[in-house]
């Protein structure tokens, strides 16, 4: 008896893996970063600030995208954003740590350590339960911050001007230098995120999203994968928070408020989960829409934002990233009924 069964679909010729090589990725990342650094020198100050905010907020949303790849969405990413920002601001004001790079890294680490005890708990939940639990945690932190006078209560507190590699920054340079630090930090984390997405652990996240039962039956740990994603997202969010507070020079509990978390989710949905670059583009789009809408329609800018999101969901259901990510492999069926 011949050992063959019908396939009902024509076979496709084999092709090599689609993923870009590491070298191309690094070279492309460096080129893009260099281009942004050069462009920043010629940008007006308002635009430099806008891109700084977009890149640092983008890092927080990158954390959400990282979790989305595992099938969950955090509605409380403001939690790690606030923890990272408060850590950086407190290290500056209380410990005298002024270096921008050190503060950014510190923000990431403190946020990761702060949420690490919750990772095993959260890794047990999915869907709306995960979203609500993360939201609840962020609102608990918001409440604590509002009531803690030592941290400025609901008014927050200010932090002074940071240094970079021991150099004090003058009025003329501070905007651009913080822009450059943010762009480089975002580029490094974006590159690491891409490497993670293409790794076997990154692939496991997609598998968890698709079929948890089979992951366990293959000897993989679903909960460990979810906990790791949650903590990596915390590092990205904490770093973003630290970068933002350095540029703003002020922090208050609203960093942890649910509407702040909502904006990060907005960017993640806008970007989709396929492309790292799309996260930063989406974040920039949000900042641009917000800036111009609040200028021209100060009381209804959220309406413009909502309409824009509706447009994207209708015409780009897989997010902005789907514009250039080929519809192959993991990407093609992600919007199929689950």
């Amino acid at each position: 008896m011949s050992a063959s069964i019908s396939t009902a679909v024509p076979a496709v010729p084999m092709r090599p893996p689609q993923r870009a090589s590491r070298h191309l990725l690094v070279i492309g990342g460096i080129a893009l970063t260099a281009a942004l650094l050069v462009a920043g020198a010629f940008m007006p100050k308002w635009l430099t600030f806008l891109v700084t905010m977009a890149a640092s907020h983008g890092l927080v949303s990158l954390g959400i995208v990282l979790m989305m790849r595992g099938g969950v969405v955090s509605f409380g990413q403001g939690l790690v954003f606030a923890i990272g920002a408060y850590a950086a601001a407190l290290a500056y004001t209380r410990l005298g740590m002024t270096d921008a790079i050190g503060l950014a890294v510190l923000g990431g680490f403190v946020a990761t350590l702060a949420v690490a005890p919750f990772a095993p708990l959260l890794s047990r939940y999915r869907g709306i339960f995960f979203a609500m639990l993360t939201l609840a945690l962020s609102m608990v932190v918001f409440g604590v911050l509002v009531k803690t006078d030592a941290l400025g209560g609901s008014d927050g507190f200010n932090m002074g001007r940071v240094t970079v590699l021991g150099q004090k920054l003058g009025d003329a340079q501070v905007g651009y230098v913080l822009y450059a630090v943010t762009i480089v930090a975002a580029a490094v984390l974006a590159l690491l995120a891409r490497i993670y997405f293409d790794s076997s652990r990154g692939l496991l996240s997609l598998a968890v999203r698709d079929n948890e039962l089979r992951v366990e039956y293959l000897g993989g740990s679903v909960r460990r994968a979810m906990a790791i994603n949650f903590m990596l997202a915390a590092f990205a969010g904490g770093t973003g928070g630290a970068l933002v507070v350095m540029s703003l020079g002020h922090i208050d509990p609203n960093f942890s408020y649910w509407t702040t978390s909502g904006e990060f989710v907005f960017v993640a949905i806008l970007a989709g989960w396929q492309s790292v670059l799309a996260v930063f583009i989406a974040s920039t789009v949000l900042e641009v829409v917000r800036s111009f809408s609040s200028l021209y329609f100060p009381n209804t800018w959220q309406l413009s934002l909502g309409l824009f999101l509706l447009f994207v969901i209708r015409f780009l259901p897989r997010g902005i990233g789907s514009l250039w990510i080929r519809r192959t492999g993991a990407s093609r069926h992600q919007d199929a009924p689950r």
């Binding site: 069964i5 019908s6 496709v12 076997s200 496991l204 039962l213």
Partner: protein
């Protein structure tokens, strides 16, 4: 006689009033091909689920090569060399066939890395070798969601074999496959499985398949074993003919 690879002793499982397993005792020697037969609800899949740790027995003990695996979860049991396929293939529909295999290889090798690309050369080579054994190589870049049922079944089994298990449990490997494709499919599976020193337990409803591929048949009815013998003897047993194959007429007065 050597110690059995798998020993189930006095397994009991109830779901409320329903008795899914009652005093199930079974030894399986290494290298055996054992078919589990029985009508729907007889307790075959419950037995497989207890062996693989998905269900915990209410009573009894399960040993793998002398080690008690009763309290272990599916992940731990998988790591000890027990693999399974499913009646409804449990795959990753949004991923390609190759990526499904790579997830399986990475999990079973316990070589999950943040840094190394998922499509590393040695893993891809291993995946391709298995896909070739299962005649799936031509589909390697195709999305699982696009594949027909028979191909999904084969992929489900191929993934189970990535860890080179000692014991393979196949839950109805030919269910949902057309009658004319059952034998070719089972031929592919058994040929592929034959390349490894493997003990196989398979749940099956097609008695022709059972007769051809099993060394031994264990028949279930109402959560208990009603026959355990070589295929011809088991299929000829009155209780099996009455409750499983339906070839023994029940006379009423």
């Amino acid at each position: 006689m050597t110690a059995p690879l798998l020993r189930a002793s006095g397994l009991e499982k109830r779901f409320g009033a329903l008795v899914a397993a009652s005093a199930i005792t079974l030894d399986v020697q290494a290298g055996e091909r054992v078919s589990l037969i029985g009508s729907n609800g007889a307790g075959k899949t419950t037995f497989v689920n207890m062996i693989t740790g998905y269900l915990k027995p209410d009573a009894g003990r399960i040993e793998l090569a002398g080690r008690d695996i009763t309290p272990l979860d599916p992940r731990a049991i998988t790591r000890l060399g027990v693999a399974r396929s499913f009646q409804i293939p449990q795959l990753y529909p949004a991923l390609s066939v190759l990526d499904n295999m790579l997830v399986a290889i990475a999990c079973q090798e316990n070589r999950l890395s943040f840094w190394q690309v998922a499509r590393r050369a040695d893993a891809v080579a291993r995946a391709d070798a298995l896909l070739e054994r299962f005649t799936l190589l031509e589909h390697r870049e195709r999305l699982v969601a696009e594949l027909p049922g028979g191909v999904r079944k084969l992929l489900d089994i191929a993934m189970a074999l990535t860890g080179e298990p000692q014991l393979l449990l196949l839950d109805e490997p030919t269910s949902g496959v057309s009658a004319e494709e059952k034998f070719p499919m089972m031929e592919i599976v058994m040929t592929a499985v034959g390349a490894q020193p493997l003990t196989v337990l398979f749940v099956e409803h097609d008695m022709d398949i059972v007769e051809r591929y099993a060394d031994r048949v264990v028949a279930f009815y109402s959560g208990r074993i009603i026959a355990d013998a070589a295929p011809q003897a088991a299929l000829a047993a009155d209780e099996v003919r009455r409750y499983v194959t339906g070839t023994l007429e029940v006379t009423t007065c």
